[in-house]
Symmetry: C2
Subunit: 431 residues, 2 copies
């Protein structure tokens, strides 16, 4: 089952979706759609996000951060003060690049990750990291241009890129991340086909969905290959600080100010609900990137910017990151233990060093999409692997998220999932 078929098949919260589509198909306005409109897909993650609110269901699907450890009462008082004392600024239009203080603080966050030379003047605050991915495709890609990405990669980036008719092509990875030799080979092959490669999109630390981390040596090698081939690296690093051992790997941007456009996010170190991230942009690319951001949203919300800024200034944000690491590490361990305990022979999985996700591989021949329905019946939910690859084709993989679920629920969710996977494995053996 493909990504598109899944979207049509899954029962949507707006259950008239399919009917709407059929209605549009026969409407005289159908001819008004752009070519790119037909490349914009329903995200399987978002479908499952909606399903996951069913009572009693244990969701191993959504990559939501754990927020209960945030000091909500205190944050409420902070928001109260922002509105009472600086409401005219918080509620008015702001600058298109984002507030100076927050851009300075984004540099502090990046310094904690190992980027020591970031200049606030090279930063644009974006409406979540997603919006920066949208702008990157807009500013760099003509229809048919190639963005290289990991196989598997983040479904939201795939949706953003494909909306611009980008030809998204994958590069194989192993347990150490993107394989440099495979990257070089893919570049040669695509150039032989006459393709124009613009970007390499990568999540080097605790890749979503695989949990795999690109090693330090390979980070250098990959940037070097891209530099030689005049391909810009689009480094997406929302989980970088969430390395369980507390020692984040230096991002690819560290030491490479010219060849890496770095995307940061406040969603995982603070909260997604503020919808704020940032882009650190090579100076020679800054102006066009920034203008494109402004053309989409005018400015990021001053109110949520001021809240994030106050959080980074007045709270022990790094303490929260540290306790989040411990929490996520514990949940990851619980999931690994449950998998070891419950999974049938022939099923393997990754052992992430940070982030939110474990990537499970079933034997060749299993399609994980139809298993989702059975999982929902059994009271749990995951994301099928095909969601994380461009184009059509089924997948024998699936993503499990441990970030938002207690250790007990993780154990129970995996227990519910196990017989479904066992049956699928057995069916392939017999077949």
């Amino acid at each position: 089952m493909t990504r598109e078929e899944f979207s049509d098949a899954v029962e949507l919260p707006v259950d008239t979706m399919a009917a709407l589509e059929r209605a549009a198909g026969s409407h005289r306005h159908e001819v008004l759609f752009s070519n790119r409109a037909f490349h914009i897909k329903q995200s399987a993650v978002r479908d499952v996000f909606d399903i996951s609110v069913q009572p009693g269901l244990i969701s191993l699907a959504g990559g939501s951060p754990y927020l209960r450890s945030l000091p909500l009462e205190e944050l409420g008082r902070t928001a109260q003060r922002i509105l009472a004392e600086h409401g005219l600024e918080a509620l008015q239009y702001g600058g298109g690049q984002g507030m100076d203080e927050l851009r300075r603080q984004a540099c502090e966050v990046m310094a904690a990750e190992g980027i020591l030379d970031a200049d606030p003047a090279d930063i644009v605050i974006t409406t979540g990291s997603q919006s920066a991915q949208d702008v990157a495709a807009k500013v760099f890609c003509n229809p048919g241009d190639v963005i290289l990405c990991e196989d598997p990669t983040y479904v939201g980036a795939l949706n953003a890129f494909e909306a611009y008719e980008v030809d998204v092509r994958t590069v194989p990875m192993d347990g150490d991340g993107l394989i440099p030799e495979a990257l070089e080979e893919r570049i040669r092959q695509l150039r032989a086909e006459g393709k124009t490669i613009k970007l390499l999109y990568t999540i080097p630390s605790f890749n979503n969905p695989s949990g795999v981390t690109l090693t330090a040596d390979r980070r250098r090698a990959v940037v070097e290959i891209c530099r030689r081939n005049n391909i810009l690296v689009l480094e997406d690093n929302p989980y970088g600080l969430l390395r369980f051992d507390g020692e984040p790997l230096a991002p690819m941007r560290a030491g490479n100010p010219q060849d890496v456009l770095y995307l940061g996010s406040f969603s995982k170190i603070f909260a997604p609900g503020v919808r704020l991230g940032w882009a650190l942009i090579p100076r020679h690319l800054y102006r066009r990137f920034y203008l494109a951001c402004e053309a989409v949203v005018l400015c990021p919300s001053p109110l949520t910017q001021m809240l994030v800024s106050a959080y980074l200034r007045d709270y022990d944000w790094m303490g929260h990151v540290r306790s989040s690491r411990t929490l996520y590490a514990g949940r990851c361990s619980a999931m690994l233990a449950a998998l070891a305990d419950q999974m049938p022979e022939g099923v393997t999985w990754t052992r992430p060093e940070g982030g939110f996700f474990i990537w499970v591989t079933l034997p060749e021949g299993v399609d994980t999409y139809p298993l989702l329905y059975k999982a929902i019946e059994a009271g749990t939910v995951f994301i099928p692997g095909a969601a994380f690859r461009p184009g059509e084709g089924s997948s024998n993989k699936l993503r499990l998220a441990f970030s938002a679920v207690s250790a007990e629920d993780i154990a129970e969710g995996v227990r519910r999932l196990a017989p479904i996977l066992r049956a699928a494995v057995d069916a392939v053996k017999v077949g």
Copy 2:
């Protein structure tokens, strides 16, 4: 002086902009930009927005709403309660279409404007109305497709559309708004050229920048012409409720659920800093529009959505709209009086029935762009008319905003502006 030249010439807050551009021009990454990247322009309004923070300057440029009459202390307590009591929802990811309650409330706001049949299921909450304009161009326009718009029209929409290589073409207007016969003639002419026309973008009530309102008869005629020609109407109505006499004209969407995609905004009835608006979408177009919104931002901020929702639920928002009308009406009168008092012969201006703006016309042959520098020296600032038209070409018009300035400052600002305009008028007479 053209829009583009102006952007390069004006001293920007990021004063290295021009240098950056030159650096990019010679960088090996220059070839990485998409074709559309070269269509993305600096907004003159945003340039002037930055200049306007100079102390002592009276800005008649920015269309910022007046926020001092909002109950900021109370709003602070509301935000405090949202975070303390519903923080886990406010700070987490939310649904891509926006929250149910806010979509229902957007229907109430539209009902106050005269749209009585809006269904929350047809609404997407957007990151400001700007984001909906971006998505409209993305979903409907291939490069070279035409969007028709008023001459003049909103600069932010021009920037959003041109970023998709849309061929934006203008339709003449008079004191009653878009001229239906001119619209028909323009459609015939463009079709004869072989152009594909997708949308008519219009701000029918108190057009930005002209302040002109499309009459009720013409609203019907324009929608009918578009329906006959299979052109979708994109109705942008941020100021609709701000009609000075308290009787908003029914939007074009009222009674036309199939042929009008309606854009609403919380910026002018509440506050721009929350960056929230909405789109009411013909049902047969909903799915693709919504998916495109999601591909850009995943979801609008639950935190700011909950604040707006609480504002519409717990506060006398219509009372605030009523007092805003009175305030803006008074400021508009003050500006009209100052213009009558100060403007030299040969200068004319519009008499808006609502909204934020007055549109000033100088004699043919005057270019208002260079006058901006003189105005800044004299301690005031406006937006030159060329900003509000697609493409190149100078303009003998300029926009004055009365929304964010006291009656005293309006009088003083116009007094500072008058000798500059007088000199320009005299120069043309002599020439």
